[in-house]
């Protein structure tokens, strides 16, 4: 079974999404050593924090973890979080990670996600598990 990792900042939206998802997940950037992610394949959930041009969308702790080739090798795909009101940059961090690491952008959701988002992510992850 694949694992789940995520980043959330002090505003906590992505953290609330993960809580409601109810699956065990590793939180990046909260002090714990990300090298545990080398152990098995995982999906990453990441909010976007870009400047107006799309630079800097991926939070630093996420970049630091993905700079480790052994962690990167286990990344199955990414789910981008954000807010559609950022226009063309909606969920931009997901797209940047997908491109950089050559993995699929699996899904995008806004803020802390809706019931529909939770159902789709649960369903999608379960399908992954069977594949």
């Amino acid at each position: 079974m694949q694992g789940l990792a995520y980043f959330t900042s002090a505003s906590g939206n992505t953290g609330r999404f993960i809580d409601r998802l109810g699956l065990p997940a590793f939180r990046l950037g909260a002090g714990a050593d990300p090298s545990v992610l080398r152990a098995r394949p995982f999906v990453l959930v990441c909010p976007s924090y870009s400047d107006g041009e799309g630079r800097g969308a991926v939070p630093k702790p996420v970049i630091r973890a993905l700079n480790d080739p052994a962690i990167r090798a286990q990344l199955l795909g990414v789910i981008g979080a954000g807010n559609r009101n950022f226009g063309p940059l909606f969920g931009h961090a997901g797209r940047v990670i997908a491109e950089k690491c050559n993995v699929p952008l699996l899904y995008r959701f806004e803020l802390a996600g809706t019931e529909t988002d939770l159902a789709r992510v649960r369903g999608g992850l379960a399908q992954f598990r069977r594949a």
Binding site: S11, G52, E110, R120
Partner: protein
């Protein structure tokens, strides 16, 4: 006259000593978002404006005067009221940026008017905005909270104005844009929407920080206040929406958009959504008008256009060293 030291020393804002990292993060995003209406070639919409029927033009101008009113409230009352409650000097500076941008927003609707409309049409719509009971009522509900509320209540009211009340208006330019009308005006509105997203995020974040400092009983009281306020606002919004959009038959569509945005406003405050998923499902044409060019093949929902994710994007290469 002798210089007298004030009772408490005045503090100069030092951006190299942050108490809250979010202040700088949001300051940076807001300053890099800075824009003026002159940047958008609104006059390219003149031919498109000429294709609208008289009642469509009237609706559009009315919607924009309604938005002007809300931005005026934020500029002159809302943001200054929040400044008085700032807990860090940097927060105060961020709020002063927000206050100024509200003036830019309010001003930019007049740029649209002077480019596209006749003076008589615009004067009539401003009169309408002063006389419309629903518009006046929603502004009054928020102003009450700004004048009589405590710091957390003021923040909740501000997030509701910026993340919820604007959207009955923002709907229309997004709808026009989805039909390839007034597309430059839509570009300008998207700049406003992006600013409001950061405002709602930041004030919602400060709300959550403040809430964490108070007792459980106080938290419950604030939550009751917030949900009852959004309920009152929602009631007025549905009437305002019907009055504007019954004519073109768009009221149902706009209501879904209202539900969706009410849920997002509550999420900015850290609360759970109020409206069920089906009621908050937005017309996909409006969603793609909000974030044009961000379509992706979406593996988990099996929907979305199958764009390859291959477009070159700006990335911070010095950080990614593989």
């Amino acid at each position: 006259m002798k210089d007298m030291a004030p009772a408490t020393a005045l503090r100069a804002v030092n951006w190299n000593r942050l108490e809250d990292e979010k202040d700088l993060e949001v300051w940076n995003r807001l300053t890099s978002n800075f824009w003026l209406p002159e940047k958008v070639p609104l006059s390219n919409d003149v031919p498109s404006w000429a294709t609208l029927r008289a009642e469509e033009r009237e609706l559009t101008i009315r919607v924009f005067t309604g938005l002007t009113l809300l931005d005026t409230v934020q500029n002159t009352v809302g943001a200054p009221a929040l400044m008085a409650d700032a807990v860090t000097p940097h927060e105060e500076a961020v709020l002063s940026n927000i206050a100024f941008m509200e003036a830019v927003h309010a001003r930019s609707y007049s740029s649209i008017f002077s480019t596209l409309c006749s003076t008589e049409e615009v004067d009539a719509a401003f009169r309408w905005s002063e006389e419309n009971p629903h518009l006046q009522k929603k502004a009054a509900l928020v102003l009450d909270a700004y004048r009589a509320g405590d710091p957390l209540q003021k923040k909740a009211a501000s997030v509701f104005l910026e993340s919820f009340l604007f959207y009955s208006g923002f709907y229309l330019p997004m709808w026009w844009s989805s039909r390839a009308k007034l597309t430059n005006t839509a570009d300008l509105i998207r700049l406003i929407i992006r600013d409001e997203a950061v405002h709602g995020y930041y004030i919602g974040y400060k709300f959550q920080q403040g809430l964490a400092q108070v007792s459980a009983a106080e938290r419950a009281r604030i939550k009751d206040f917030a949900f009852s306020l959004i309920f009152d606002l929602y009631e007025v919004e549905t009437r305002y929406t019907a009055e504007l959009y019954d004519g073109p038959g768009l009221t149902g569509d706009v209501r879904h958009f209202l539900h969706y945005n009410a849920n997002k406003a509550l999420m900015n405050l850290g609360y759970e959504p109020l409206f069920p998923a089906e009621a908050a499902e937005v017309n996909p044409a409006i969603l793609s008008a909000l974030s044009p060019g961000s379509e992706n093949h979406d593996f988990f929902s099996g929907s979305g256009s199958s764009y390859v994710i291959g477009r070159a994007v700006a990335t911070e290469d010095e950080d990614w060293d593989f």
